[in-house]
Amino acid sequence: MSDRSKINNFVVRFANVNGTGSASANLLFAKAIFRMGIFVTPKNIFPSNIQGLPTWYDVRVSEQGYLGRRAGVDLMVCVNPQSMKNDVNSVKPGGYFVYDCTKGINPEFIRDDINYIGVPLMEMCIREYQDPRQRQLFKNIIYVGALSALLNIEMEVLADLLAEQFQGKEKLIAPNIKAIEMGRQYIFDHYEYPLEISLERRDLVGDSIMMDGNSACGLGAIYAGATVASWYPITPSTSVVEAFTDYAKKYRVDPVTGKNLFAIVQAEDELSAIGMAIGANWNGSRAFTATSGPGVSLMSEFLGLAYFAEIPLVLIDVQRSGPSTGMPTRTQQSDIIASAYASHGDTKHALVFPSTPTECFEMTAEAFELAEFFQTPIIMLTDLDLGMNDHVCAPLKWDDSKPMNRGKVLNAEELDKVEKWGRYLDVDGDGVPYRTYPGTHPTKGSYFTRGTSRDEFATYTEDSDAYVRNMKRLELKWETMKSRVPAPEFLQDKNENDYGIIYFGTSIYAAKEAIDILADDDLHFDAMRIRSFPFNQDVDDFINAHKKVFLIEQNRDAQMKSILVNELQINPKDIISVLNYDGMPITADHIVETIKSKINNEVKLVS
């Protein structure tokens, strides 16, 4: 990596203690870089507790716009004595170690090959502030100030951000600016600056925004017209419904009556949360729930009901590291099989895989359309990395002219016209029957919804033929779906290489970077990003068009490969897995190394 320039190209890591208010200072740092027109990727690495344990915040800066995580720390800001020993060791040779030098530093922590930048943070705070909570909070701001000098962050940008942050609490602006200045001044007085790694204003980010995926999902549900949200708190999905709530309060309160055009219920558990969402969808509201792994397991009986009784449903699964409670504050893409085949019996569910907050927004909205059209659950598989971290991404767009499509629903008038309506009758030959909302018509359109077998007219039956007909219609519906779910995205206009790379979800950033790195080594690939399940024809074609494909996944068991092989009848030997499942977002370097080693050991692809 030595050839990458040091300007706008480095990783800063903050080592903090959770519960000390460092998050907003660190975000200030990241956002300032973004405002300087440079690509930045912050990642919060936090423990599964509330206060007092080590937490890290990585900020990668990338001139080239690489938004994936990169291992190796160029500059460490360590304000946590608990983790200092490890923190020192994780700095790359030649890197910098910024620390609170009020009490000096343990000689054991001194390495020859890195640079130490002591700032007496505690001393400065004690001198300046009386209140202990203030001392703690401003300590964070002071180090941001110091960094701004070391790395060349523009003071005006910081001032603007602080002004925006404290809108309404203007009194706080000045003390914060002061703290920034203190940090800067200390550097000016004691160190050479800026460092070799540093920032230069650019105009790279265009009209991008910076947003987390969970907020984007919540907003997508607002735009889709979801009116009912039922949920049970679980990290890392909690902020999906929190965002939905905030946006609903902003956009969905009747200005005249002060009443809500939405209903949000914190359920008693995940079984109840999904039951409520099913009930609301059955009754004609767009409704959704959000959860993470353990919730998906608990929801699986109800998912089977929704599949078989054909009830629309949007479920947002923000994946975390499993199995079981696993590492609840670490990321993974490991609920693919559990979601795709959730529930006993012959059951399958459509999945969508967003890669960016922008896509979280779009796909959430699209998920409601799909769910209602196909009268079946649509499960969005996002993850902790996408959901809880801020990402630089394309701005959100909405086409006001596109009508909301509620699918095949008969109203009273239409019911009057229909000769004999059958809830499970395939009129259009696409496997998708017509439904009715309760209460539509005094004498027509009522039926009994159930998880048991029934005939085309919703009458209970144990007749083998009727059962098989229904199961086959569900299969046909599945086929129909293939051309309607989000299509894959291709990096190239047309295939040019013998070998392909496939990725999905948050692997997008690292994958694209890896492809560039490999190209530098004259290893060229076509690339496809999967965006949904069932897979549409293009996915099949891409795989068949290549001798072998590398499939990048963030789980142990190659779960996407399983469903690809299973659904597309692809020879498993034609798919080579590139796996990462240690709970940290995958890196380009990991992908490059894995592909290179597989090329050397298993596949001979270089001509």
């Binding site: 939405f262 209903a263 219920v265 079984l271 039951g275 099913i278 009754n283 509201s285 909405w398």
Partner: protein, 350 residues
């Protein structure tokens, strides 16, 4: 199997205010065992809805799984029904209700469905005061899986196979009272005269209304020694009161001797007239209702009738402060903030 009930209609069959005969309120032919208590309850539901002149399509009937949970197929064919999964009807009812506050939500469950697998949802639907009728067809056993004891089986009750239940029974009305339910009643499938006014009042109650109906399982729990058999229940029944439901605008005609009578005005202006048989109990006082239940329990009796009512009940929609128009009728116009708002948001996120 589908059964078409022969639709023979007597020319001068009585009609209700909507001009409907009772047959309009019937369902398909029951496939329960002949003599099952649940069928009597279905009949009482049919009668109540007929008498109240409910528009069948404005009622949604929901249930879990069990013989009891099948009954929604056997009443009100014109109503939408939802036979969900075992024990989870309350959550489905909650979501449905949130989507459309204008329908009547009528839930049917069994004692297995409610007191075992469904306990969590039962407790929480009460806590949320969902505006619904919740009827438990309580036979003290799992009918559909062939007669295992349920959690409402009384301690000491003998099963058909002769084994004696050693566990404490869960008393659903007491539990509902403890959890703050605003309408709590108990009845017996064999007592239609009592059941019908209770169902009507429950439908009119603007919040969660539970009726625990002892409903003998003739096939698995009607043996001597069972405390849920027809004979046992008949012998141990004790009435809080006789109940008359008087619809809004109808004149109150019955009159009891002074003191023993209590008139409760319901939310919509209809009345419940109680002829009290228990002197120390006041149906509008929760503590008194709890005590009355505990006392009869200790005496080995089964208290039936209206046990507690709080006529001014604030339901979940009230707590959530939802708009008056049903959420499922809102359109993109009201719901989607549109592209302009989105542009503003984008700007804030830069």
């Amino acid at each position: 199997m589908t059964y078409i009930r022969p639709k023979f209609r007597h020319p001068d069959l009585k009609t209700n205010d909507l001009g409907y005969t009772k047959t309009v309120y019937e369902g398909s032919l029951s496939t329960l065992c002949a003599g099952c208590g649940h069928d009597s309850i279905s009949a009482a539901i049919v009668q109540s809805c007929f008498e109240l002149a409910i528009q069948p399509h404005r009622l949604a009937k929901l249930s879990g799984i069990g013989c009891s949970s099948k009954t929604p197929a056997y009443f009100l064919s014109q109503s939408h029904g939802f036979n969900s999964v075992h024990g989870r009807m309350p959550s489905v009812a909650t979501g449905s209700n949130l989507a459309n506050k204008e329908l009547i939500y009528f839930g049917v469950s069994g004692d297995g469905d409610t007191a075992s697998i469904g306990m969590g949802q039962f407790v929480h639907v009460i806590r949320r005061n969902l505006n619904m009728v919740y009827i438990v067809m309580n036979n003290g056993c799992y009918g559909l899986t062939k007669g295992q004891d349920s959690a409402t089986a009384d301690e000491g009750s003998k099963s058909k196979s002769g084994s004696v239940n050693m566990f404490n029974a869960i008393d659903l009305p007491s539990l509902a009272l403890e959890l703050g339910a605003g309408f709590v009643a108990q009845s017996f499938s064999g007592d239609k005269a009592q059941l019908i006014p209770l169902i009507k009042a429950a439908i009119k109650h603007p919040g969660f209304a539970i009726i625990n109906v002892i409903s003998p399982c003739v096939t698995f729990n009607n043996n001597p020694g069972s405390t849920k058999s027809y004979d046992y229940v008949r012998e141990h029944i004790e009435l809080t009161s006789t109940v008359d439901f008087v619809p809004f605008q109808e004149e109150i005609t019955t009159s009891y001797e002074a003191g023993a009578e209590q008139d409760i005005t319901l939310h919509d202006g209809s009345h419940l007239q109680l002829h009290k048989l228990e002197s120390e109990w006041n149906p509008e006082d929760r503590m008194s209702a709890i005590t009355a239940l505990q006392k009869t329990k200790i005496n080995g009796e089964i208290l039936t009738g209206l046990i507690f009512i709080e006529p001014e009940s604030k339901d979940l929609h009230h707590v959530l402060n939802t708009v008056d128009i049903p959420l499922n009728q809102l359109t993109a116009k009201e719901l989607c903030p549109g592209s302009v708002a989105l542009e503003e948001l984008n700007a804030e996120l830069r």
